[in-house]
């Protein structure tokens, strides 16, 4: 009887503590942690912040947003700060294109030489839905993202050779005719394939070392990603392509429209 009574009191007490903890915890944590806390509460529901990248196709199909656990190896900080204030879509077919391609579309399908093709549909046809941050918060989140560098070993030995100069025309030949990147990637808005990330912003979005490493061995970053690796690409071509992407990103693509 006595023991039961004690138990009851204890339970009530623990319940109280629990309630207190629930209310008090976010306040304290928010004040102390800032950017990291923001990432955990606002980003973790879609983005993977802990890794590892999907290991099977079925896991890959469940991915909602780009993995951020190696963000510090991948992005340029200036770009992150800018993008977080003004988020736009980077991959025309979405991060998970299996959700956005339709094979039996209605009449509005694209035609080329009288043939019909699969089309994009659903969410990717609307503007991107993403949290929009003010400058102060964006810088705070970018700082935290840039500190996440688990794949340092992959980029450590990559170095951009800026002496491999390339013109816009030569670069386009490399991208289109020599290595065929244009089938999936766009080098200006609306020119190129849909399933890859846009290349005309890659130069300001990504670190050169990341581009060098990723083009050669994308599977080291993301084991099941649909980009094929180019381990046999000549070193000179690779350097030229990355130099071209950096040059391309300096173009103003909003000038004409």
């Amino acid at each position: 009887m006595v023991i039961e009574a004690i138990c009851e009191v204890e339970m009530r007490y623990s319940f109280l503590v629990l309630i207190l903890a629930l209310f008090a915890a976010p306040v304290f944590a928010g004040a102390a942690e800032g950017g990291e806390q923001f990432l955990r509460t606002h980003c973790a529901s879609c983005h993977d912040l802990n890794g590892p990248a999907p290991q099977t196709i079925r896991q890959l199909w469940k991915r909602d947003a780009p993995d951020l656990f190696y963000a510090g190896n991948k992005y340029r900080r200036e770009w992150l700060v800018e993008w977080l204030q003004k988020p736009v879509r980077i991959r025309p077919a979405g991060v998970n294109y299996l959700r956005h391609i339709n094979s039996t579309p209605p009449k509005d399908q694209k035609k080329k030489a009288g043939r019909q093709y699969d089309v994009l549909w659903g969410e990717v046809l609307k503007p991107l839905k993403h949290v929009r941050l003010d400058r102060k918060k964006a810088e705070m989140v970018a700082d935290v993202l840039m500190s996440m560098v688990p794949n340092y070993a992959l980029t450590a030995n990559e170095k951009l050779d800026t002496s491999k100069k390339v013109t816009l025309d030569d670069g386009e030949v490399l991208i289109d005719k020599v290595h065929g990147c244009l089938s999936c990637h766009q080098i200006e808005p609306g020119y190129g394939g849909y399933t890859g990330a846009e290349l005309y912003t890659a130069g300001k979005r990504l670190q050169p070392a990341y581009m060098l490493s990723y083009i050669r061995h994308p599977k080291q970053w993301d084991p099941k990603i649909w980009m094929p690796g180019y381990p046999k690409m000549p070193e000179e071509d690779l350097q030229k392509i990355v130099n071209y992407l950096i040059l391309l990103a300096k173009e103003d693509f909003n000038a004409s429209n």
């Binding site: 079925r58 199909w61 093709y117 699969d118 290595h179 065929g180 394939g193 690796g229």
Partner: protein
């Protein structure tokens, strides 16, 4: 156990393993090949309108019957240039294992040449 039961069980496991392999190749095809060769392998993928060389229509029985399994295998593993085709077909060497490529060849044969498969044609 009665011998007939054993035989039936054998058939069951045979069927089971076959369907498992077919699904893996199907998943691979739907994930990687579909971007250009289309959901049903008709060479009508979502990327095609922007391309200057059209991807192969895998349901084109007439053309696909002129290709050997070795050629299809090479095209997947080493890319288009390995079989005198376009660079638009990249090498998938680092994406698929040996076994997965062989299963994909089999999957492509089911898309193009189901009747010949049933008849037992040797694709070499």
């Amino acid at each position: 156990m009665h011998p007939i039961n054993l035989i039936l069980m054998g058939f069951f496991f045979l069927g089971f393993t076959c369907s498992l392999h077919a699904e893996e190749a199907y998943l691979n095809y739907k994930t990687y090949c579909m971007q250009c060769h289309g959901m049903h392998g008709k060479g009508d993928g979502v990327n095609v309108p922007a391309m200057n060389v059209l991807p192969r229509d895998h349901s084109d029985n007439k053309y696909m019957m002129t290709r050997t399994n070795t050629e299809i295998y090479k095209a997947i593993k080493f890319g288009g240039p390995a079989v005198n085709k376009s660079v638009k077909m990249p090498a998938w060497e680092d994406t698929f294992t040996e076994e997965e490529i062989q299963q994909l060849v089999g999957h492509i044969r089911t898309l193009c040449c189901e009747q010949e498969l049933v008849r037992g044609v040797n694709f070499r």
